[in-house]
């Protein structure tokens, strides 16, 4: 269910990093294709070894979280990636990752020493 997105990908190109972050191979591919231009659902569906309905479902998942938008062009529905929203989601998860790495470190310290360890560095609060 989850993509094997690792914490630190040694790749500066943000688009690549974001693509890595998408969980499902088909959805990732849809987002990649729809980054450079709009595609109809039927033209997308022709590219994958699955039913039109299955591809439509993937598009719906992406649309629901706002990673792609769908617009009507005549009889066709065109799918386009909202790159800013993909970036925003990835940024939030990056920040949450940093918060949780510190939390796990503190849990580890707490289990290792019953004494409080001295505060060392500042970081974001995250309720």
């Amino acid at each position: 269910m989850y993509n094997h997105m690792v914490a630190h990908i040694p790749d500066d190109r943000q688009a690549d990093r974001l693509l890595h972050a998408l969980s499902d191979a088909t959805r990732r591919d849809i987002v990649r294709r729809a980054m450079t231009g709009a595609h109809s659902v039927s033209s997308l569906a022709a590219r994958y070894p699955m039913s039109y309905a299955a591809v439509q479902k993937h598009v719906a998942v992406l649309e629901e979280v706002g990673l792609v938008t769908k617009e009507r062009r005549g009889r066709r529905r065109l799918v386009r990636t909202d790159i800013e929203r993909v970036r925003a989601a990835a940024r939030v998860l990056d920040r949450l990752e940093a918060v949780w790495r510190r939390r796990i470190e503190r849990m580890d310290d707490l289990l290792a020493h019953q004494e409080a360890s001295p505060p060392t560095r500042g970081e974001d609060p995250c309720p």
Partner: protein, 163 residues
């Protein structure tokens, strides 16, 4: 490093952390079940948490505030959705207003903790899920502001030590 794996899935608006804790299951559970221990890992050192209410039963609440370097007190709450001591806990995780009541204008996340014993150690899995991309953007805008404040507090601390 006890963190084994971090899986980020923007398309599902979720993040999973898997960590191996060097303690048996019951001891590790106390990180959640004992409010004094919870407050020592939940908040960063620059924003230590104080838990004022702690009821890990279904429908129960955990209420806390954090104390920032400038004396500000952001408040938050958990509401217990499901609990199976010492193996799992699922809560809603939200922000509170100055009275400690849930702030309806702020997003509510879901957090699920799962603990498994593994040869005297504990495998901890924590899954955080956001309700919407809007909620994530809201948190990003807010977190950045708080992050700047936290960083400023830290710089003040360093300068204070050097003086």
């Amino acid at each position: 490093m006890p963190v084994i794996e971090i899986l980020k899935d923007p398309s599902a608006l979720s993040m999973t952390v898997v960590a191996e804790l060097a303690a048996p299951l019951e001891r590790s559970w106390q990180l959640l079940a004992d409010p004094r221990q919870l407050e020592r890992w939940w908040g960063p050192p620059s924003y230590p948490a104080t838990v004022t209410e702690h009821d890990l039963t279904p429908g129960g609440h955990v209420v806390y505030y954090m104390t920032g370097p400038g004396g500000e007190r952001p408040r938050g709450w958990w509401r217990v959705l499901a609990v199976d001591p010492p193996r799992s806990l699922e809560v809603e995780d939200g922000f509170a207003d100055a009275d400690g009541d849930p702030d309806p204008n702020m997003p509510v996340m879901t957090m699920r903790f799962t603990l498994e014993e593994a040869a005297g150690k504990t495998l901890l899995t924590s899954v955080t899920t956001f309700p919407s991309l809007e909620a994530m953007q809201h948190l990003l805008a807010m977190g950045m502001e708080d992050g700047i404040r936290a960083a400023t507090g830290q710089i003040d601390g360093i300068l204070g030590e050097a003086a």
